[in-house]
Every structure is written in structure tokens, then in C-alpha cells.
């Protein structure tokens, strides 16, 4: 067992652990938005770590430079925030409530203005 193998193992285990914590988060958080946090992003660092470990394994032990694996990280980076944005945004628009203990809601104002505008438009038609 060489040093690099130990490092790769630690990376894989950490990545798996983070993904597991993301799954626990989905169960434990009280509202949609909290769950979205867990679902869309605690995976981010998990995926990065596992992909990094895969890359290192192929590079050092198999002597292959596999850029595809690194591209995976890039694509996760590009898509994860957009998915989170669209899901939380549409959830808010159809009126999924925040958790009772939430302390702030700055978005309420903007969405109510938009709704009024929409109502006015339909009245005129």
C-alpha cells in the first residue's frame, strides 16, 4: 500500500461520506428549500472528490491521462446551480411555503408585485 493509494482511498471515502450526509440532509430538513440545499449541493464536493480520486488512480496507477473524468466535474459545476435555481424558483412561484421558523422573506414582495401585474394584464384582456 503506497502513499498515493492511501490518498486515493481517503478521497473516495470522503466523497462517499459527503454524499451520504446529503442523503441524510434530504430526510432531516423541514421544508422544500432546505432539502434542495442537501439534494443539489452537498453532492458537489462529494462528486469532486470521487472524480479527483478516479483521475488520480488512472493517472498514477494505470498511467493514463483521462480528461473525460475532469470534464465530469466541469459539467456538474455548470448544471447543479441551474437545477437548484429552477427548482426553488418554481417551488416558490406555485406557493410552497417556507418553514414556520424562517426569519426572513425578502422575495415575497417581488413575487406579489409580479402577481398583481399578471392579474392586471388578464383583466384588460
Amino acid at each position: 500500500m503506497s502513499l498515493i493509494e492511501i490518498i486515493i482511498s481517503i478521497l473516495v471515502l470522503l466523497g462517499g461520506l459527503l454524499s451520504l450526509l446529503g442523503a441524510i440532509g434530504i430526510i432531516r430538513f423541514p421544508d422544500v428549500y432546505g432539502r434542495l440545499h442537501a439534494a443539489t449541493k452537498s453532492a458537489t464536493l462529494g462528486v469532486i472528490l470521487i472524480m479527483l480520486a478516479t483521475f488520480l488512480y488512472f493517472l498514477i496507477i494505470e498511467q493514463q491521462f483521462v480528461v473525460k473524468v475532469l470534464l465530469t466535474i466541469v459539467f456538474v459545476f455548470l448544471t447543479a446551480p441551474v437545477a437548484g435555481l429552477m427548482m426553488s424558483r418554481s417551488a416558490y412561484r406555485i406557493g410552497v411555503p417556507l418553514w414556520e421558523k424562517s426569519v426572513q422573506d425578502d422575495l415575497k414582495h417581488k413575487v406579489s408585485i409580479e402577481k398583481n401585474r399578471k392579474l392586471n394584464v388578464t383583466d384588460k384582456q
Binding site: L21, I24, G25, R28, P81, V103, D106
Partner: protein, 158 residues
């Protein structure tokens, strides 16, 4: 900026022609020499030495890596604590960034950092609505975003 990169590539080609050997290493050395030449001649270029922006991008990536690890530790603490002692909330964060790609990048970086999630943009793209998992202090959070990501993105722009 694109012009400078092109100039640098042309210099690298000229270097390879002068060496009469066309390998990746020659090209790389030529690129480095061209970089040095551009750095020396930076006063005559119409705008800043472009490599400074590359450095700014690298700095932004390192900053993001640090924030990612720190925020992950915070969220793990919340997830594993027996009592969910959190105060979630949606916060309006004003931003000074102008171009669309800058605001998009800021939103994406905020989303990718655990504990914060970009939910919506205002119509003029000057306000980001962010759902945060724990906001004991609204001002502190806004200040933190301004000091880290927004500042780093501004450095890339200039």
C-alpha cells in the same frame, strides 16, 4: 485581451520556427518567452497585461475551493446536530456587478457553496434573492458575499 492572447500564440509559433523543431515543449517555451515579452511591453498595449486576469481567475478558483470546504463543514454540523436549531430565510443581496455573465457566475458560485442557494434575480439583475439555511445575522452574510465572491469577480473583470 483576445488580441494579446493571439499575439502570444503567434510569438510562440515564431519561437518554434526559429528553433526549427515543432514539439509541444518548444511551443510552451515560446509561449513563456512571449509572455515575458508582452509583460515588458505592457505599457504599449491598449489595455492591461492580460495574464493578470488569468491570475485573478486562478485566485477566484482557490477562493471558491476554500469557501466550499468551510461551508461544507458548517452544513455537516447542521445536518448531524440532534436538534435542527436553524433559522432559514430568503435574503435580498444587492450586487454591483453589471454584465450578465458576472451576475450569472456570482449566482452559480453562491449556489454551489453549501448553505446558500440562489432563488431568483430581480428584473434589472441588481439584486439576488438567496435562500440561506442559517441566517442569524443578515448584514454579516451580505457583507461576506461582497467581500469574497463579488470582489474576486470584479478583479477578473478589470
Amino acid at each position: 485581451m483576445a488580441f494579446q492572447i493571439l499575439l502570444n500564440v503567434v510569438l510562440a509559433f515564431i519561437w518554434a520556427f526559429l528553433q526549427n523543431s515543432y514539439t509541444l515543449v518548444d511551443f510552451f517555451i515560446g509561449y513563456m518567452v512571449g509572455l515575458l515579452i508582452l509583460f515588458v511591453l505592457r505599457r504599449f498595449l491598449t489595455f492591461d497585461f492580460y495574464f493578470r486576469r488569468v491570475f485573478a481567475v486562478i485566485k477566484l478558483a482557490l477562493l471558491f475551493a476554500r469557501e466550499l470546504v468551510l461551508a461544507n463543514i458548517d452544513v455537516i454540523k447542521i445536518v448531524l446536530s440532534p436538534k435542527m436549531n436553524i433559522q432559514p430565510g430568503i435574503i435580498a443581496v444587492p450586487t454591483q456587478l453589471k454584465a450578465d455573465w458576472e451576475v450569472t457566475l456570482l449566482g452559480a458560485l453562491i449556489s454551489l457553496t453549501p448553505g446558500t442557494l440562489t432563488m431568483d434575480f430581480s428584473d434589472d439583475n441588481q439584486i439576488l434573492y438567496i435562500h440561506s439555511i442559517d441566517v442569524p445575522d443578515k448584514e454579516a452574510m451580505i457583507r461576506q458575499i461582497h467581500n469574497t465572491f463579488e470582489k474576486a469577480i470584479m478583479e477578473v473583470r478589470q
